[in-house]
Symmetry: C3
Subunit: 455 residues, 3 copies
Amino acid sequence: MSAWQAVILAAGAGTRMRSTTPKVLHNVCGVPLINYVVSALTNAGLRTPIVVVPSQAEALYACLGDAADFVVQETPLGTGHALAGVQESLEADTKNVLVINGDCPFVSSDSINRLMECHEESQSQMSLMTAEDIDQEGFGRIIRDSFGKMSEIVEEFDATPEQLGIKEVNGGVYAFQIPSLWPHLASLKPSSKGEIYLTDMVACVYQAKGITSTVHVSDPHDILGVNTRVDLARAEAVMQNRIRHRVMVDGVTLIDPSTTYIDSGVRIGKDTVLYPNTHVIGTSIIGENCEIGPNTVVRNSVVEQGCKIVSSMIDGTTLGVGVDVGPFSNLRLGCHIGEGTHIGNYVEIKESVLGSDVKIGHFSYIGDADIGRKVNIGAGTVTANYDGYSKNLTTIEESAFIGSDTMLVAPVHIGKNATTGAGSVVTKDVAAGETVMGVPAKPEPRKPSIRTKQT
Amino acid sequence: MSAWQAVILAAGAGTRMRSTTPKVLHNVCGVPLINYVVSALTNAGLRTPIVVVPSQAEALYACLGDAADFVVQETPLGTGHALAGVQESLEADTKNVLVINGDCPFVSSDSINRLMECHEESQSQMSLMTAEDIDQEGFGRIIRDSFGKMSEIVEEFDATPEQLGIKEVNGGVYAFQIPSLWPHLASLKPSSKGEIYLTDMVACVYQAKGITSTVHVSDPHDILGVNTRVDLARAEAVMQNRIRHRVMVDGVTLIDPSTTYIDSGVRIGKDTVLYPNTHVIGTSIIGENCEIGPNTVVRNSVVEQGCKIVSSMIDGTTLGVGVDVGPFSNLRLGCHIGEGTHIGNYVEIKESVLGSDVKIGHFSYIGDADIGRKVNIGAGTVTANYDGYSKNLTTIEESAFIGSDTMLVAPVHIGKNATTGAGSVVTKDVAAGETVMGVPAKPEPRKPSIRTKQT
Amino acid sequence: MSAWQAVILAAGAGTRMRSTTPKVLHNVCGVPLINYVVSALTNAGLRTPIVVVPSQAEALYACLGDAADFVVQETPLGTGHALAGVQESLEADTKNVLVINGDCPFVSSDSINRLMECHEESQSQMSLMTAEDIDQEGFGRIIRDSFGKMSEIVEEFDATPEQLGIKEVNGGVYAFQIPSLWPHLASLKPSSKGEIYLTDMVACVYQAKGITSTVHVSDPHDILGVNTRVDLARAEAVMQNRIRHRVMVDGVTLIDPSTTYIDSGVRIGKDTVLYPNTHVIGTSIIGENCEIGPNTVVRNSVVEQGCKIVSSMIDGTTLGVGVDVGPFSNLRLGCHIGEGTHIGNYVEIKESVLGSDVKIGHFSYIGDADIGRKVNIGAGTVTANYDGYSKNLTTIEESAFIGSDTMLVAPVHIGKNATTGAGSVVTKDVAAGETVMGVPAKPEPRKPSIRTKQT
C-alpha cells in the first residue's frame, strides 16, 4: 500500500456537550473517545496520526502524548480549513490522506482498511465511508446522480423532505488523493458563517469530473458519532452491549446483561456468574466459577477461581482461590488475600497481605497489616496504623486470635497462637502463645475462656 | 379568552390498580398523578379546578388542599354523571368547561391551551384532544363520517375489527360550551350498567348538528393514562426518560440513563457524572464536576461542586465543595459538611455540623455533634448522644484528635488540639491540648505516641 | 386420553454454552431449565418422564432424583438416535410418545395438552408444535406442500433464502404414535456426521403417506430454547417480565420493573412498593403496604405488613409487622424480628430472636441471641458468641439497656431493666436492674447517667 497519513479532526468546539472538557476526551467505557479512533488507525496499520486541535489543547496533549502529532487550528473555520492546515506537516512521501472525526468510537480498523483499499484500487480522488439504517440524527445524506455516481453530500438541516428520505448517509471517514486534494480544498467556498466544510469536496470532485468512491459499513453503529451527552450515553450502551455479548459467548452467565458493566480490557473465566448491578472494570481478571454481585464493583483486581463476592467493592486487590467477601465490605487497594479466606460484612482492608484461611467475619478495619494463615479477627477490630507521621505495620502471626473490639496500635507484632481479649487496646508486642487483655492490654495468665468470637 | 372552568374527574373506582389508595394519588416520580394534572391546568392559566371525588375522599382533600375545589359524586354512575354534578358549583360567568381525567400525568399546558383556543375559534359545542400511534391499550377510537366530521367515539371493547384499525384515539380531555352542555348531557342514555358516559356526547352533539372539533397532540405520550400498575410503571419510565434527556442535554453525563433516577425538581451542574443505580431525588441541587454513584441515593440535599459520593445515602444534608463520601456511608438528616472534608466507609452522621478538612475515614456514628475544622475521628468512634431523656451535644474543637473506638458520652466538649486514646470512654470534658485515655478516660501526661489513626 | 409417555432429550453436548455444567442445568430465575420442562409435563398430566442423558450425568441425576427415569445415550448420535434408545424402557401400554427438548423453559402445559389432543383426534403418526414471529435464530422451517400439508422440516443452516423467509418454525415438541414410530425411526438415514435427526421424521412420515399435524402456540416465547448464554440471559428476561407483569397486575408497585428481580414462587401483598434494584427471591412472602429497596435482597424470608427495608440483605428471616431495617444491614439467617422493632444501619444479626420494639440503630453484631421487648442496643455492641468449641447464647431481658461498644462474651444473661455502660466488656451475668461497666464489667452503684445511646 502506498504511503498514507491519517488526520483526526478534533478542533471542533463541541458546544452541544455543554462541557469544559473537549468533546473527544469524554469517556465511553472509561476510555476517551479519541483513543478509540487512534487505536483503530493503529490497528489498521497507519503511522502516527496528526490530530488537529484547537488552541489551548493541553488536555488533548496530555491524553495522547506521543501517540499523535498535533496541528493547531487557531480559529474554528470548519473541517475543510482544519484539513488544509496539516499540509505543511505531511511527510514528503504521503500519497493519500485519511481523514476521520475524533468523536467516532466505533469505527473499526477493518472498515478503515476497506476504505483505503477501495480508494487505491478505484484510483479515486476522494472516497468515503457510508452507512444505511442509522437511528441517529444529524448525518449528511449521500446524493447520487442518475448513473448512481455520488454527486453531493447534503447536510440534514439543509436537506429537502425528499432528500431526508435518502437512507445512505455520510460516515465521516474520508480518503483523499494528495495531488488533487489541495487545489480542490482551496477552491471550496466558505459558508455564510465563513466556515469551509470538507463535505463540500464531494460536489467539488464530482463537478471536476474526478473519481469518487464509497465503502458501505455493514454495522451502522460503526459510524455513530458523539455530539451530545445523549449520544454519549448511547455510545456507552452500544459499547457495553458488544462487550456483554462477547463475554456471554465466551461462557459467562450475566443474569441481567443490561445492568452488568464490563470494561473492554477485562477477562472473565467460564462458568462465572455476574449478578445484576455488578461492575467489573479497569484491568480486572476474573477466574472460572466465581459468583460476583449483586451490587459489586471489582476494579483493577485479580479474582481467582471459585471466589464469591456480594455487595462489596474490590479495588487493586488480588483474591486467592475460593475467597468469599461481603456483603458491604471494601477492599480498598493493594490487598493480597490468601486462598479460602473469609471476609464477611463491613470489613475494610487496605494495603495488607492476608494468608490463607483467615477469618474476618464482621466490622473491622485492617490497614498496613501482614496477617498469617488461620488468624481469626474478631468484630470491631481496628488497626491504628498511622501516628500522624508515618504508616506503621501490624503483623499477626499464624493462628493468632484477635478478640472482639481489639485496638491494635501499630507498629505492633502479635505472635503465633497469641490471643487478645475482647476490648483490648494493644500497644505493645504480644509474644507467641501469650494472652493479653485490658486497656491498655496486659498479659493474662487465665487464657482458655477468652477465645470468643463471632460466627 | 372567555371564562373557563376546569373539571378533573377523579371519582372512578380504579379497581384495576388493586389498591386501597385512590388511583389518582399513586405517584409518578414521587408526585401523585393528579398533581400533574392540576399543575398543567394552572400553567395553562385556568383558575382553581373542580375535582369530582367519590365519597370518603379524605386522602384527596389532604393531597390537594386549597389547590382545588371538590364536588362529591355519591354513586359512581359514570363520567357523564360526574360532570353533571358540577353544574351547581360553576360560577355564573363560566362560558366553557374543560374536562380532564385525573390520571393523565403527561398532558401539557400547551396542549390544553391549544384545545381551548381551537374550541373558541371554531365556536364548537364540544372539542376534544386526540392522538395517534399510541402503544397503550384501552383508548376509544374516533369515528368520522364521509366528510371527515367526528361522529362518534367507540370504546375499544365495543369496537369492530375494522374500527380497531383506526389510529386516531380519544385523548380524554374535553371542552364543552356551557349553554348546550347541560341539555345534551341530560339527554344521554345510561348504559346497561346504568352509567352515563361522557364519550357519548360526541354522537349526541353530532346528531344535533352541533359543531365538534379535535386537536391533535404531537407527542402521543401526552394522553397516556394510568389504569393499572403496569401503566403506572410505564408512566414512571416515560417521565424519567424526559428528565434524563433534559439533564443530559444540559451537560450532565449519565453512564446508564436507564438506571439513573432523577426527580423533576432536581438541578444538576454541568460536567457532573452520575454512575449507574443512582437516585437524585426530592429537591436536591448538585453542583458542577461532581461524581455521584454508583449505588447512591441523594435526597433533598445540596451537594456543592467537585464532590464525590460512592455507594452512600445522603438525606437532607449539605456537602461543601470537594467533599468525598463513601462507600457505604449514611448521612441521615440535617448535616452540614465543610469543604474538603473526607467521609470514608461505614460512617453514619445525623444532625451535625462538620467544619472543613475533617477526616472520618472509617466506621463511626456521629450524632448531634459540632465538629471543628481539621478534626480527626478514628475508626469505631461513637457519640452517645441520648440519655433516654434528651438529645445531648458533642462539641469537638479544631484539630482535636479522637482515637479509635472512642466513646463520647454526651454532653461532652473536646478542646482544640485535644487527644483521646484508642478505646477511651470519655465521660467528662477534655481541655484544649489535653490527652485522655482509659475506661473511663482520664488525663494522661504521656501524649505523643497516642495519636494513632487509620488511613 | 390413551397412555402417553414423555421423553425429555437432555443428552446434547451443549457446547455453545461453554460450560462444564450440562446445558439443561443452567438456571433461569434460580431454577434449572429442565425443571421447567418436567413441571410443564407434570402439570399436563403426564406420568414420570424419561430423560435421555449422556454418560456421566451425575449432576442430572442429583437434580431430578425421583422426578424422572433416565436412559443413557452413550454416544451422541443425534436426537433420533436418542429417542430410539428409550424403546426398551417404555411400559407396555404406551400408545403415544411426547418428545421435548430439555432446554425449553417456557413450554406451557396448556400447549402440551393441545398438542396431545390434536394428535389423538387427528390420529396422526406425528404431531408437532409450531410458532411464528420468533425473534431468535436457529429454528427449523416448516415446509408445506401445495395442499398445505407439512412435508419436511429444513434446518436453518440448510435452508435456501426462500425457505428462510418462511415464518412457521419447528417448536421442538413432538408427539408420535407408537406402532409406526419405531420402523420410521429405523429408516432414517444418518447425516454426514453420522447423526440421526428427529426432524427428518416429518419427511419420512409424509413420504409414507402418514398423517401429520401441527399445533400453533399463541405466544412465540413458549418455544424459545437456550443454546448460548445470550439465549439464557434472554430467557431470564422473558421469565422475569412475566413475573413482574403478574405482580403488578396483582397490585404491587414496581418503580422500575426492569431492575426488580422476583422469583416465581414469591408472593407479595398489594400496595407494597418495590424500589429499583431490589431482589425478592426464593420462597419469600411479603405482606401489604411494605416498602422494599432500593438495593435490597430479600431471600427465603417472611416480611409482614408495613415493613420498610432499605439497602439491606434479609435471608431466611421473619420480620414482624412494621419492622424497619437499613440501610446497609444484614440479617443473615434464622432471625425472628418482633413487631415494630427498629434495625438501623450496619447491623448484622444471625440466628437470633428479637422481641417487639427493640432498637438497634447502629453498627452491631448480634448472633445466637434472645432479646426481649423494648431492649435498646447501643452502637458498636458485639455478641462474642463462639469460644472455638461451641455456639453460646446471649440472653437480654425486657427493657435492658446495652451501652455503646459493649462486648457481650457469651454465654451471658442480662436481666430485665439492667444496664451496661459504654465500652463495657461483659463476661458475667448481670442481674435484673443492675448496672455494670468497665473492662471487664463490674457492678456500678451510680447508675442514672449511664443510659446514653444513639438516635
